[in-house]
């Protein structure tokens, strides 16, 4: 097991090294840089600034400098905000994480419950209704549901705030602050949950349908176990196994932010910051963020492999 993990860690380093070079080159080779967007600067001033920021050096040299700093834990300063990249991440990522973690949790719980019941009562009216609902939720674009909910729940009914993370000008602290954030995050969480729910429910439903047909479920019934025990002890454990792969993908998604949702609900998350930085060609921030996602993806994959080993006695890691 420990040799397996050390082997995997070495692979991970190699993958990340290759990824960092690719990511850095792609951003650096995108036409235009942070300076060229600024129309007010004279050509001489531009050259001066490029000299200061090191943007005139050859690609490979720039990459090596970035790498050397990164290995020392220094991911550079955001060019547009003049703040260390890591400080900015710390400021924005947790806002995105808050939305993602709540909606992911809700999505999984609801998807498992509905998926199991729909599979158990396959082709019943409940199953049909769920399938129609799921297709509807999957086919509607997020901006449509988002705007629709803002129009009905926020603008017409005044039940929930239409956007932001706090009421404008609010200075509440403590419990009042928590309450305010919860109110503001309700709408985006609903939309994100609705969007993720469809595919995951279908996934659990079809896994469960496969498992229910297995011989060992018949054995469990022949032993006289209650249907609840058959479903939740014997069937669900097997139906959840393939979903472990998804856990690996969820990890980067938790921190990656959501461009559209954050834009619609004006949520101060990392997705918005990333989009802004892309327009400005703010390389240190772009490279830093993409690398963070890469690291999380690699860790997520390792995590799901180890989880498989824990959850399924047949899986051996070597």
């Amino acid at each position: 097991m420990s040799t397996y993990i050390s082997k995997r860690l070495i692979y991970m380093l190699v993958i990340l090294l290759a990824a960092s070079f690719l990511v850095f080159s792609l951003y650096a080779l995108t036409p235009g840089d942070f300076i060229s967007g600024n129309m007010k600067l004279s050509p001489e001033r531009k050259a001066e600034l490029r000299e200061i920021y090191g943007l005139n050096k050859p690609l490979l040299e720039r990459y090596l400098i970035w790498m050397k700093n990164a290995l020392h834990g220094n991911f550079g300063y955001s060019l547009s905000q003049q703040t260390p990249v890591l400080t900015l991440f710390n400021q924005y990522i947790w806002n995105s994480f808050l939305l993602a973690v709540v909606s992911t949790f809700l999505t999984w719980v609801i998807a498992v419950i509905i998926g199991v019941i729909a599979a158990y009562k396959q082709y019943s009216w409940f199953d049909t209704l769920v399938m129609i609902g799921i297709f509807a939720a999957m086919s509607l674009p997020s901006f449509f549901i988002g705007l629709f909910l803002i129009k009905t729940l926020a603008v017409d009914l005044h039940w929930l705030p239409p956007g932001g993370m706090l009421t404008t000008g609010s200075s509440s602290t403590g419990l009042a602050y928590v309450k305010e954030v919860i109110q503001h995050m309700t709408l985006p969480v609903i939309v994100m949950t609705l969007l993720g729910l469809g595919s995951l429910t279908r996934y659990f439903r079809s896994n469960m349908i496969d498992v229910i047909k297995q011989d060992y479920i018949r054995t469990a019934r022949a032993k006289g176990l209650s249907e609840r025990k058959v479903l939740f002890t014997h069937a669900l454990r097997n139906a959840l196994l393939p979903a472990i792969t998804l856990v690996g993908f969820e990890l980067p998604a938790l921190f990656g932010g959501s461009l559209i949702i954050e834009k619609i609900f004006n949520w101060p998350g990392i997705g918005q910051l990333y989009m802004q930085s892309f327009g400005l060609r703010d390389y240190p921030l772009l490279v830093g963020f993409t690398m963070l996602i890469a690291v999380l993806t690699v860790i997520g994959t390792l995590l799901s492999d180890i989880l498989y080993h824990v959850a399924d006695p047949r899986v051996k890691l070597q």
């Binding site: 297995q214 011989d215 060992y216 018949r218 054995t219 469990a220 019934r221 022949a222 032993k223 006289g224 176990l225 209650s226 025990k229 002890t233 014997h234 454990r237 097997n238 196994l241 959850a311 399924d312 006695p313 047949r314």
Partner: protein, 327 residues
């Protein structure tokens, strides 16, 4: 009457898009206390469906016990509610299956799977159930029971898994054990061991066995009474020595002829010509008529009834009926 299991006119139907399949069509059978009854027939003749009907495990809504009664120890199983039936399953009626490899849950330990029915039906405490499970593993002839208790199904061989299935089945001292092709998936030496095990438990307790098989060797070794099924119907039944010595129905005769006999040189093994009829296209007739060398006009028109043809033997064949003349 000392029948433990008394099935009268049982029919089990499956609705499909092409029509209704009568998987089990009006069969009656009886199993006495301590008796071993074998149901023989080829794949799809309805023998497993008969077993599942007794267990109340026919998968709805497509499948349904369409008629008849199943009296077990004085109760009609077709009239019991889900809760009562569940209490019977694994407790008074236990079942083992054909594929030991897939019949146990791959992610739950062997021990936990043996313990479950003990906890549910006998209300044993966790510790008592554990002790009993260890005893059971030893009883089915597996050494190192503590280690097996903690193992997962994939770590055991097919023969060992079938022993575990038997341990689970006998754990609550059932009155009836239904064994659906228990040795089909195992190799020959293991088959003999498993059959020995079943016979030993039957002798120790007063358990009855309903053994479903297509292997006539197994029948000869185990059965007191044999039932031959074809296309959802019983075509012949009788006491085992009588039936083997003097089969009446052409299908039974064919089955016995297609079995290799030691010390008899045969260039080619006999096989019954033709194929099992499509269950959707059955017309009132003897369902075996198009494969039968004695086929008469009446066989194509009307269904024969199960008639007494020997002291303890019945057959459903027009050869043994009063001659009926069709113009």
């Amino acid at each position: 009457m000392n029948d433990l299991l008394n099935i009268e006119h049982l029919s089990t139907h499956f609705k499909t898009e092409e029509g209704t399949i009568k998987a089990v069509d009006d069969i009656s059978l009886h199993v006495r206390k301590g008796e071993t009854v074998c149901i023989v027939g080829e794949s799809g003749c309805g023998k497993s469906i008969t077993a599942m009907s007794i267990m109340g495990l026919i998968e709805g809504p497509a499948g349904k016990v369409a008629g008849g009664s199943i009296h077990f120890d004085g109760r009609d199983l077709t009239k019991l509610n889900r809760h009562e039936l569940r209490h019977l399953r694994g407790n008074e009626i236990a079942m083992i299956f054909q594929e030991p490899m897939s019949s146990l849950n791959p992610v739950i330990t062997i021990g936990e799977q043996i313990v479950e029915p003990l906890r549910v039906h006998l209300n044993l405490s966790r510790r008592d159930a554990h002790t009993r499970a260890i005893e059971l593993i030893e009883q089915v002839g597996i050494s190192r029971p503590e280690q097996i208790f903690r193992s997962y199904p994939h770590e055991l061989s097919g023969g060992m898994l079938q022993r575990i299935m038997i341990a689970i089945a006998i754990s609550c001292n059932p009155k009836l054990l239904i064994a659906d092709e228990p040795t089909t998936a195992l190799d020959v030496t293991i088959q003999a061991q498993i059959l020995d095990l079943l016979r030993r438990f039957k002798e120790d307790s007063d358990m009855s066995i309903l053994l479903i098989t297509h292997d006539l060797g197994v029948v000869a070794e185990m059965a007191d009474y044999v039932i031959v099924m074809y296309s959802g119907k019983i075509v012949e039944e009788g006491e085992v020595t009588q039936l083997f010595a003097n089969p009446k129905h052409p299908y039974t005769q064919g089955l016995l002829r297609s079995k290799p006999v030691i010390n008899q040189r045969q260039d080619e093994l006999y096989s019954i010509p033709g194929q099992v009829p499509n269950p959707l296209e059955l017309q009132p007739s003897c369902y075996f008529h198009d494969r039968c060398e004695h086929c008469m006009a009446v066989c194509r028109m009307e269904e024969p009834n199960l008639k007494k043809v020997g002291e303890q033997q019945k057959a459903a064949c027009w050869l043994y009926e009063e001659a009926k003349v069709y113009a």
